[in-house]
Symmetry: C2
Subunit: 564 residues, 2 copies
Amino acid sequence: MDWIRNYNGQLAKQDLLASLIVTVMLIPQSLAYAMLAGLPAQVGLYASILPLMAYAALGSSMTLAVGPVAVVSLMTAASVGAVATAGTDQYLAAAVLLALMSGAFLLLLGLVRGGFLANLLSHPVISGFISASAILIAASQLRHIFGIEGGGHTLIEILNSLAKNLPNWQGYTLGLGLACLAFLFWVRKGLKPLLVQLGIKNSLADILAKMGPMFAVIASTLWVAMAEWNSNGVAIVGDLPAGLPTPSMPELDLSLAKELWPAAVLISLVGFVESVSVGHTLAAKRRQKIQPNRELLGLGAANIASGLGGGFPVTGGFSRSVVNYDAGAQTPMAGVFTGVLIAVTALYFTGAFYYLPKVVLAATVIVAVISLADFGAVFNVFRYSKSDGMAMLLTIVVVLAGGVEAGILVGVVCSILCLLANIGQPHIAEIGRIEGTEHFRNVMRYDVECENCVAAIRFDERLHFLNAHRLEESIGAIIERPGIQHVILHCGGINHIDASGLDALIEINHRLEQLGIKFHLSEVKGPVTDQLVKSELPQRLTGEIHLSHHQATCAIGKSATLAT
Amino acid sequence: MDWIRNYNGQLAKQDLLASLIVTVMLIPQSLAYAMLAGLPAQVGLYASILPLMAYAALGSSMTLAVGPVAVVSLMTAASVGAVATAGTDQYLAAAVLLALMSGAFLLLLGLVRGGFLANLLSHPVISGFISASAILIAASQLRHIFGIEGGGHTLIEILNSLAKNLPNWQGYTLGLGLACLAFLFWVRKGLKPLLVQLGIKNSLADILAKMGPMFAVIASTLWVAMAEWNSNGVAIVGDLPAGLPTPSMPELDLSLAKELWPAAVLISLVGFVESVSVGHTLAAKRRQKIQPNRELLGLGAANIASGLGGGFPVTGGFSRSVVNYDAGAQTPMAGVFTGVLIAVTALYFTGAFYYLPKVVLAATVIVAVISLADFGAVFNVFRYSKSDGMAMLLTIVVVLAGGVEAGILVGVVCSILCLLANIGQPHIAEIGRIEGTEHFRNVMRYDVECENCVAAIRFDERLHFLNAHRLEESIGAIIERPGIQHVILHCGGINHIDASGLDALIEINHRLEQLGIKFHLSEVKGPVTDQLVKSELPQRLTGEIHLSHHQATCAIGKSATLAT
């Protein structure tokens, strides 16, 4: 918390302005994401107060805006929906427990410096997961647009439930919803150019364009209140309890905790990865840095605070953080101000949301998440790497067909299996000298010089239990050529040799020895050498360990000349 | 089956001699391993007839001796014991089904060329597994030495059951058992030197020393028959049904198959790994080769044949294969002869085993497996690599404390997690030129030449979702030094770049561009280049992709000179 020592009025002014803008954006989002999570709207407000203050105390990003976000809300709905019925006290209690468990897991990871676990989620898997989640979220909100009942945690369930209930569609609701969607899409695409044309500064135009949902909320609330469309079947938010729940530790339901822990782990990791990537991007713009470990602590504290304050899982969101940054937030104090503003709203202004139509909240969610879906990325990733593309496509398909938790697990397992398969099929090249250099390259790709009595092989992978036999096989094939007296293994690509790899080297050395062929190593890296000297290989090796491949060929050439 | 075309009388003579010797060794072993697997003794004979012939038809090793082996028998006991009670018809039916399933799985792997799956079992895990299994096997046989009841699938269960039943120990049985153990240990250590002293050839002495168990069987059978020790409580094999079961396909019990499939997979993989390693070792001695894929087919057919003939899972065993080799077996026909000899035994000589004391079979098992246990290897592996040592130790501990299946699974998972953790912590070095060469090495280890405006970094790992952020971090740290104008990434150790790694490179390039620093790559390998050209990186790169690091530094030096 270095920033607090140099905090002054100027910074406070900037933070306060940013917090005002973020609050205007956060109020409709927090209500909408609570609805997406299957919770009463006011829970969204509760999750937007204490977590922001807790993050400010421990987090490392200056501009990250913590609170309810779409993907985490969807994951909350999926996991809590599996153990309780939406609308019940048990459902709320489970969501609160999920926030506490997710917070505890993040804190634990932060304390044991276990943030590397988040690396198990590769970029294609996360990207596919977010795109597919966006589709699921948008589909889940369609029922509000039509003003019908419904549910489901997979695309098929959601569409089935939509199709079943579609005959009950509400004309007023649908009209309002479509109007709102049209307005919000226009705001996103068309408002900013218009404002710029009107002479408004680019950055201010950006911010005003992000206020679209608030305009829609205010206008539609006034309209419904005046035209009394709520009596025409338009669902409204209705009475929200004023005031804040007293922060309290809920009773720990162990059997519930046992059911929720896999979800808590997944929500934590996904939330952490999303949040850190936003944090990195914004920090880099100002040449600041974020510390992944302090992010774990900050997000962990935020989730614990959310649970204690009666909220649900939160993380750092993309769109609000960008607005916070653009609006000039300088320190996490902006988050504290935002929390205070939301608290004031929850205490005194919940009555203002009485006539707020739910369909408008649904429309803001749909417009927000549609921009997250990027299926074109699948083609780009596929073109670059089939296995990454497969992992991404599989994640998308399983999220849509089997739900968020199954999707992310399948994605992670698929990317690990692809990695193992890839390590198991190393690239092995025979190499020769590029004329006039000390550089050695694949004989199949370059015009190189080789000596008949020397076979030089480059093994492009860690030498490991998954692939050690491949080296044995390829050396076995090469020494069938007549006249080979030396085999040099170029180790420039061998970043590690495990015990199985060591056994393979000893075995190769032994077999070559029986055939009167000397076995040399070249370009062995420092850490690999450190390990090899602990083994019997250096003593047993019939040849030498050479610093560079060039030196190896020179030394062997000399000894061959001496011998003849 | 190339060998069959050139088969002649001379080869047949050699194979027949070897098969006679192997049969003498196999008879007590097959009875004993059937007992170890919890099956009637004659099932061991059934598993030693058809499998040998099936392997001869499809396998690729000239000298591998297939049949019941200790570790696979223990695994059979553990998995079949979990679904049926030893001694019942259900137990036998489950063992037969396990052989069929294991055979089917191996055939399937052979057909889809899936032998690489066996590579998931690293050397330390397999070695730890076999050592711990040997202890479990020896402990499980102790009850026969004391002549008491007992059971259990973990060391604690076995020792508990021993302690509980020890008060019922049988004096005659214990006496015979200890005498037999002493004799067998002496044969193993002392007989061969004695025979050599007596002027017997080394190789013959070796073979005679391996016949020890048969001497013990004959002598103890005669002794018990004459002294009628069976009426003094010495358990004998008793009536074995003469003849052979008609080969038949048992009814498929789907629910049983569902329970047994994980065991079938594990038994197949462990059996395959053991067998292939024996096969490789013996083949290499005669400059022959074995083909892992044909081994899958051969062992698969052997297990199917075992199941059809009323036997239990089999694989290629170490000790009998070595004897087969030493005794001069030239082709798999030796296995066919052995199968015929065992069939003759099962048809006409089962009566000879009536007085064979079970305690002697137990003693032969104990002496055979004790030599498999090599706990000293743990220290060697630990000294070489902590993570391999951990995987090995964990495998041993879990096999002893939780049984064979849990042990091997934990070992495999542990070695994969260690691999992921290791990839996640790549070695990253800053490099400079070793004077007078074109070779570049770590500035921390070697006395090298560097230029102030150039930072050269070598990343010693595939650039991958597990570690891409590490490269960003270390480049971020290096460019904080003033005056850096060029960053060269030496890619000699980067064997693969996945989509997350590509994103990291693009991001680094972008950040460096904003700081006015050029980003170069050097020594990018062919397969990595092939992939990179499919991406936008080469166009976006502010610097160049250089063939060798030396050329990169020369080119940058020249351009710097031109600029000043």
